[in-house]
């Protein structure tokens, strides 16, 4: 610090993409280069603490509070696996990523079987390392940030994620969570995107008997079919091109715990069959393996897809649907519980005020609240939260007035379509993206990514369907998605299949 100049204490604390204060990562390795690389490469996403041996690492762990650990498999004073066991004993929910020189390290595989989060081969590559650490931190948040259930927005543990609602529909959801969380049955959570299906899954886990065990989440729509199968069930070395070593899947890794399968409707028939077998017998084989493995995993599944219709169309196994459907929790869309909007606004406003350090902000004007309460919220609670956060960021006044609200809310009549993508001209395929983004920016939209991706997705699907003369199987293969997903998108985007592809009005 320069002489004679007093710097005020920093009041800004870095915020992660998860909107919490900066996550913290402990890196234990005796290689100085690894510690330096981790410190430099991961600084944008986490506060890094380093330790050069097991003793220092465990000491730091006990004194601090970490969201993830990056652990060398071979330390000078202790075997990595033994260190891992001590970490588990300290806190079973800290995701531990092993670093190993040999990708096929047996110790790393053994650690995965015991519940380690993942392992990464040395030499470390910065981008995959960053992705993996981000995933681990996200996992930590999913399994550790408490989900409080409240019919009263005033009970605000701001550190918790809160389920708010006093509408009859939400009270039914809370009752259902209370009734079934401690029963070891599969649960299917249904509801539109943005209604909080993952929160329900987390609440079910946190109130269950398995709350001290592992909780892992897999988004079935995010992975191609073959990778999803490997992600869930693992694979043996050489079972397919690129399978350079044995990999432990989530069902094996999560033994004793809870597995959240999001977007369960987006699964290929082969994967459906294997998941069904786990549900029925708790048995499975790794991809390319013939050894039968057993697991004790509670499955919580979620979807916003019409599984019954998919069963009728032959795209989804009826027996799997019935197995998953033992207990169903249906989350209502926000438009069906608009009476909860004021309480949600208060909660999100309090969170955003704190996060963005806007202590002077008093709240929303009555006109703003009225507009927000009349809007039909196609993006549900997620969209409401984004709007409030955006307003808090944008406003320079102590009260948020309607002029700060997105145009879609102030100008669109309730129940009118809000999708910018839907209104784009079908006869100018793919050319309107720049104009769309500009318009959304002008409108201060809080949903730019989603609306742009929607536009792009529809364009890509139409182009591929045109290239295949409307053959959906071929198109799905070329797109690298399941037929079910393609059909879902065709319906969502109202694409009419004729001899030439067109878009219905």
């Amino acid at each position: 610090m320069s002489a004679g100049i007093a710097y005020p204490e920093a009041t800004f604390k870095p915020i992660s993409k998860w909107s919490k204060s900066m996550p913290s990562l402990l890196v234990i390795d005796d290689d100085r280069a690894i510690l330096a690389l981790a410190e430099k490469a991961l600084a944008p996403i986490a506060d890094i603490t380093t330790a050069a041996n097991a003793a220092d690492g465990l000491d730091a762990l006990r004194r601090g509070s970490f969201d993830a650990v990056l652990l060398d498999i071979q330390l000078p004073d202790q075997n990595g696996l033994a260190v891992y066991c001590e970490i588990r004993e300290h806190d079973r929910r800290i995701p531990v990523i092993f670093m190993t020189v040999a990708a096929a390290s047996n110790t790393a595989i053994e650690a995965m079987q015991l519940g380690a989060f993942d392992y990464i081969a040395k030499p470390l590559s910065v981008d995959p390392l960053r992705d993996l650490v981000e995933k681990a931190i996200e996992q930590r948040q999913i399994s550790s940030v408490p989900v409080a259930i409240s019919a009263d927005d005033e009970s605000g543990d701001q550190g918790a994620e809160l389920f708010i609602g006093r509408s009859p529909a939400m009270l039914d959801v809370f009752k259902a969570i209370g009734k079934v969380s401690k029963q070891d049955v599969p649960i299917l959570v249904r509801g539109e995107s943005g209604t909080g299906k993952e929160l329900v899954a987390r609440a079910l886990f946190q109130y269950s008997h398995r709350c001290e065990e592992t909780f892992l989440a897999v988004n079935c729509a995010a992975l191609p079919d073959n990778l999803l199968e490997s992600e869930l069930f693992g694979h043996e070395k050489g079972s397919f091109t690129g399978a350079e070593s044995r990999r432990i899947g989530k069902f094996e890794q999560c033994n004793g715990g809870t597995l959240f399968l999001d977007e369960i409707g987006d699964m290929a028939p082969t994967v459906q069959a294997k998941v069904l077998r786990v549900l029925q017998e708790q048995r499975f084989e790794r991809v390319g393996g013939n050894k039968e493995l057993t697991t004790d995993v509670r499955i919580i599944a979620a979807t916003n897809r019409p599984l019954e219709q998919m069963v009728e169309d032959g795209e989804y196994r009826e027996d799997l649907l019935y197995r998953l459907n033992g207990v169903t929790i249906e989350l209502p869309p926000l438009r069906d519980r608009l009476s909860d909007v004021p309480a949600l606004i208060r909660f999100f406003l309090a969170q955003a005020k704190k996060e963005f350090n806007k202590g002077d902000l008093e709240g929303l004007s009555p006109e703003s609240v009225e507009l927000l309460t009349k809007y039909d919220w196609p993006g549900n609670v997620r969209q409401l939260r984004a709007v409030i956060r955006r307003c808090v960021l944008d406003t320079v006044m102590p009260v948020i007035t309607p002029d700060i609200l997105p145009d879609a809310i102030t100008r669109t009549r309730p129940h009118e379509s809000n999708s910018a993508a839907e209104s784009s001209a079908p006869d100018a395929p793919g050319t309107e993206l720049p104009a769309l983004v500009s318009r959304l920016l002008e409108q201060k939209s809080t949903n730019i990514y989603s609306e742009s991706m929607e536009y792009m997705e529809r364009f890509v699907i139409m182009q591929v369907l045109q290239a295949t003369d409307g053959n959906q199987s071929q198109a799905a293969e070329m797109l690298g998605i399941t037929r079910g997903k393609l059909r879902d998108r065709i319906n969502s985007y109202n694409i009419v299949l004729k001899s030439d592809i067109g878009v219905g009005n």
Partner: protein, 115 residues
Amino acid sequence: MMNDIQKKRFSDALQRVSGDEDMLGMLATIAVEDAPAMMESLESQIDDPTLTEAARTAHSLKGLLSAFETGEPISELEPLIEAARRGDKTEAATVHAAIKPKLQSLMTEIEAIAD
């Protein structure tokens, strides 16, 4: 700043650090500081012979230098580690003698890109 020849020589390493020359330079500095002592220890541990320690040192050396090179001579440290773990001093010494000049040559290249 790395010149074009160095960028080509260490292209894989650069790719691993997302093209960040500063980061690779920082790693090179650490390697230049730590590797010579490790190489010295390895030699004396093979001579002594304290082969368990030799295996551990070779493993650490491999980890440190693989940030720059995963092929030869780093890949040749593996047979050395295996020989040391088996307690085969002759094999460990033979492999070591063969790779020592290559390691020294690699170190010269690494030193040239150190900060």
